[in-house]
Amino acid sequence: MSLRDYLQEIRERDPQQVAATLSQWVDDINRLYEFVITQLSELLPEEKIKEEKTKTVPVTRYEELLGEYQTHELNVSLCGRKIVFSPVARIVLGSTGRVDMFLRGRIDEGYKLLHDQTVSPAVWRLAKGQRRKALPDLPALTKETLESAIKDLLG
């Protein structure tokens, strides 16, 4: 998108559209967290993930087109360490939202979860480190890829 198109898009956004985009984004984040908690609860029933090991922490985000808004990080405690899911932005080049997943204290060595609305239903895709692959070439977030990523983070 050229700068001219981009500025045009900004001008054309009305407040209701911005509010709808933001609401959808916050819902997408919440659904991601529900998915993560459900999958981890099934993978590790003895850990009582949902009951004892998860905590949401309010955070503020700011995006040029959406303004300032409140959302949450999800912290999952495993083996005495915390895995953090942290929303970054709804409007990112090449995807419809990004949430970072990392081990607390290792923010630079985590995964990017990228929201993909080019497929129906929309999926989250996993990218490790610097993203170089196109969105459709990245693996979707499933129970298996989530398990593998968490093993990698804890390893």
């Binding site: 040029e64 300032e68 942290s86 929303p87």
Partner: protein, 170 residues
């Protein structure tokens, strides 16, 4: 090494130093040196880890601002120098308008306006995100959020935009 590559290198060095300090601190939370961080004694490992995540975020922001401001400075210097060697009558009108602005008006915004008129769309694609991110940080809207653009991408995108611009002044 170009000024933008040097800025990226400064960022890499600073980040590596913080990562090294982080690894030392996390591996030895009881180390007396950790008192320097001002987190109280004994240091809570969770707070220590969160402290370094925030510090790395801040290093990313500072590195990003350094890259973008280096771009603004270099763009002004290189475009002015090349334009002077070409001569004003041969310059594209958009370039003449840009160079006719006062120095303080040759900001990232006006650079993007110029670039939009003289370089190809592919090289332009990431520039609005870079400008948004620069504005967010520079205008105090930190909100402790991670950068949404990679610094490695940023300096390469800006370098490419500068090189293309220098070839499109006439």
């Amino acid at each position: 090494m170009s000024p933008l590559a040097q800025a990226y290198r400064r960022y890499q060095v600073l980040k590596a130093l913080v990562q090294e300090a982080r690894d030392r601190a996390l591996n030895s939370p009881e180390d007396p040196k950790n008192a320097l961080l001002g987190l109280g004694e004994p240091v809570n490992p969770d707070e220590l880890a969160a402290f370094f995540d925030q510090l790395l975020n801040r290093v990313n922001e500072l590195g990003f601002l350094d890259v973008v401001s280096t771009f603004e400075e270099t763009f002004h210097a290189r475009v002015s120098a090349v334009a002077a060697s070409i001569g004003t009558p041969k310059l594209r009108p958009a370039v003449s308008v840009f160079l006719g602005r006062r120095r303080e008006e040759q900001t990232l915004r006006t650079i993007l306006v110029l670039l939009e008129q003289i370089i190809d769309k592919t090289a332009l694609a990431k520039l609005p995100d870079i400008k948004d991110e620069r504005d967010r940080i520079a205008h105090g809207k930190l909100s402790s959020q991670p950068l949404k653009v990679e610094i490695e991408d940023t300096w390469q995108v800006l370098e490419e935009a500068l090189l293309q611009a220098l070839q499109q002044l006439t």
